[in-house]
Amino acid sequence: MLILEALRYTEGDYSLSADLTLAPGRRVAIIGPSGAGKSTLLDLIAGFLAPRAGRLLWQGQGITTTPPDRRPVAMLFQENNLFPHLSLARNLGLALRPGGGRLSTEEAQKVEQALDRVGLGGLSARKPGALSGGQQSRAALARVLLQARPILALDEPFAALGPALKAQMLDLVQEVASELGALVLLVSHDPQDARRFAEETVLVADGVAHAPVETQALFNAPPEALRAYLGQ
């Protein structure tokens, strides 16, 4: 269980509070108006922001002050998920050896397998600049596969892709996540993503991250805040 216990974050006038529990292996969408704090919530979970108050627990262990790389979270950012001057092999290798050391034969094989898995077999020598936007997303996903963390946090990483490509990527995320048995947190401003992809949805609005609700039920009977966001 990922538990956000009376978590509270403030910065100037802005504040966000969250008191909710997320189950392992679920696919959860985080939606809400822009500026409400969807990315902030993700940053709190991934460890890039420190909460003012409250606790963060994973499987009963407190991780409130754990640095990002020691958390059970692998994250895909909106952009800059790959170092542009390093080949895919080097980029992915960093997931296995963050010190930048040479990979063993076995590790190099794992990198190739991960690239194969996302449909980029044989492209390990390429640099990100020589790939299409969709391929870059796939490569980033392959790295997440190598990191093999139980929580996968996606901060609108496919926002720049066209609708068909985005749908493909979400399907691939679903496959990868179910292979890892990972809890997926997908930040999106597009309600369609939530309906397509997520079993549960967390609505972030008015400074509060609401407890997850089953997506279908949520959209069938949207609460006031969601209605305002959807324009209904």
Binding site: G47, F83, G129
Partner: protein
């Protein structure tokens, strides 16, 4: 975002070293300074001369730059881009090389005096006030042109279109569009050049001298080297320090973002000055400015080529010293600049430029003397001071890019748990390749051409190439001096070109 403890401590160490190396000598100078009574009338004369020549140099540079910048802003002609790039060259041009070139053109046996005598007119001497001002204008006219050109190109093209459609007379247009810009930019340019000329040492050393043309910096040098009056040297250093700090503060207030001349190749379409006379005037200004800047350099090359064959072992040893000093000070400067490439780090770096190299040198001389013979430390001290002096420029180049790299990739590196060393080796250095190359090139070129502290410390056994050129000039071996100057020119431009190019090739964007 959680601070990266190692990066922070590296920055603190670097900042501490810079501050200690600047404030230590300043403290030594303050402690050693003699009473005001030790100053002779010659010293007050030096102070007056320093202010006067700076004033003249800044005034001439800025007022001559106005028509040149205006011509460059509104004309397009073949070679315009090249000429604008060349305006950046004096920054890395060794002072002694320029001085030799200027002597070849304006000196006793130079082209201009030759022409004057041919016309039956009496010649003039380049030594003294006008020589010093001439050399300063040579170095700072290009700077002023670039600052003003930036101002001109920043005037929106729509304004020119509007004034063309209103049919404004040339004078009305000047008053509504160009004058306000000039009033905004020119005082800053004037102040910057004034401050630069206040700390003039090498020019005064070579073209000035004597009771009527000595700057405070030169007086410090003479007090240390010839009279060995360290108390007076320290007091003069305090005066120089106060002068530069005061003027620096004024310049900072009037500050114009200098920049390194990017984006100056734009041409604003204008509808004025399309008739014959203005076109001719603009052409004349551009040609004159180009001749003024290029002829001395051409003379250095022309006179240096035969001299290259005459270089003795002394010159080659000096060349070797210059290269090692440049390499070491470049590495040191970059090692300082990388951890300090943040907003507050840039302020720390500025401390180094507020204090003139000669003042730093005098302070270091005083600090070292109880423990060792300062003369035996000439090269290490020169290395240190050169690195400090180049640091603000290196930071100006590196900081924006380093901050962009951190903004783009620090989170990814944190998420991966990259070690500080891996971050440095795999991300920061490769991403900063271009600006690192540029900064290294500037530092190396500045260091190779520097004739400052080395003059204060050097014994007859040790010299860098610029000092060797100066000594050859002093002993009237003009041909050998010309050869060594050409070598120096090749070294400094070559070092810049190599480093800058090294940063550009194979750099992935």
């Amino acid at each position: 975002m959680a601070p990266r403890p190692l990066a922070v401590s590296a920055a603190l160490i670097a900042a501490g070293l810079v501050l200690a190396l600047v404030l230590g000598p300043v403290a030594a100078v303050l402690a050693r300074a003699g009473g005001w009574g030790t100053l002779g009338p010659g010293d007050w004369q030096a102070l007056r001369f320093t202010l006067w020549q700076s004033l003249l140099s800044a005034a001439f540079s800025v007022s001559l730059a106005i028509p040149v910048a205006r011509a460059l802003a509104r004309r397009r002609f073949p070679g315009r881009g090249l000429l604008i790039s060349l305006l950046g060259a004096p920054f890395i041009l060794p002072t002694i090389v320029a001085v030799l070139g200027l002597i070849a053109v304006f000196g006793q046996n130079g082209m201009v005096n030759g022409a004057l005598r041919g016309l039956g007119l009496s010649g003039f001497s380049i030594y003294g006030l006008h020589g010093v001002v001439l050399a300063h204008v040579f170095f700072n006219l290009p700077l002023a042109v670039r600052l003003l050109l930036q101002g001109w190109l920043a005037i929106p093209a729509e304004r020119f279109r509007l004034s063309a459609s209103l049919g404004l007379s040339p004078f009305a247009m000047f008053r509504t569009l160009e004058l306000p810009m000039l009033l905004r930019i020119a005082p800053g340019a004037f102040a910057v050049i004034f401050v630069i000329c206040l700390s003039s040492f090498a020019v005064a050393l070579t073209l000035g001298g004597g009771p009527r043309a000595t700057t405070v910096e030169l007086a410090i040098y003479q007090a240390v080297r010839f009279e060995f009056d360290l108390g007076r040297a320290a007091l003069l250093s305090v005066i120089q320090l106060g002068l530069a700090l005061l003027a620096g503060l004024v310049a900072l207030r009037l500050g114009t973002g200098g920049g390194f001349g990017s984006g100056l190749d734009r041409i604003v379409t204008r509808w004025d000055g399309r008739t014959g006379v203005p076109r001719l005037m603009d052409a004349a200004w551009v040609v004159l400015a180009a001749l003024f800047l290029l002829t001395p350099l051409g003379m250095v090359v022309a006179r240096g080529l035969p001299g290259l064959a005459q270089l003795g072992t002394g010159s080659w040893e000096a060349a070797w010293n210059s290269l090692t000093v440049a390499l070491a000070s470049t590495l040191l400067c970059l090692a300082w600049a990388l951890p300090l490439s943040t907003r507050w780090g840039e302020w720390v770096g500025l401390v180094g430029i507020a204090v003139s190299p000669l003042v730093l040198g005098t302070g270091l001389f005083l600090i070292v003397r109880p423990f060792a013979n300062p003369l035996s430390l000439a090269l290490p001290v020169t290395t240190l001071v050169n690195a400090l002096v180049a640091l603000p420029f290196a930071l100006r180049i590196l900081r924006p890019e380093a901050e962009a790299v951190r903004a783009d990739y620090a989170r990814l590196a944190m998420a991966l748990g990259m070690s500080p060393l891996a971050w440095l080796r795999l991300v920061l250095l490769p991403r900063l390749r271009r600006p690192l190359g540029f900064a290294a090139g500037l530092t190396a070129a500045l260091s190779i051409g520097d004739l400052g502290v080395i003059a204060l410390f050097a014994d007859p056994e040790r010299a860098t190439l610029p000092l060797q050129v100066y000594r050859l000039m002093g002993s009237y071996q003009m041909e050998a001096a010309a050869g060594a100057a050409l070598l120096l020119l090749i070294f400094s431009f070559g070092a810049f070109w190599l480093c800058d190019r090294g940063g550009r090739t194979h750099a992935d964007t």
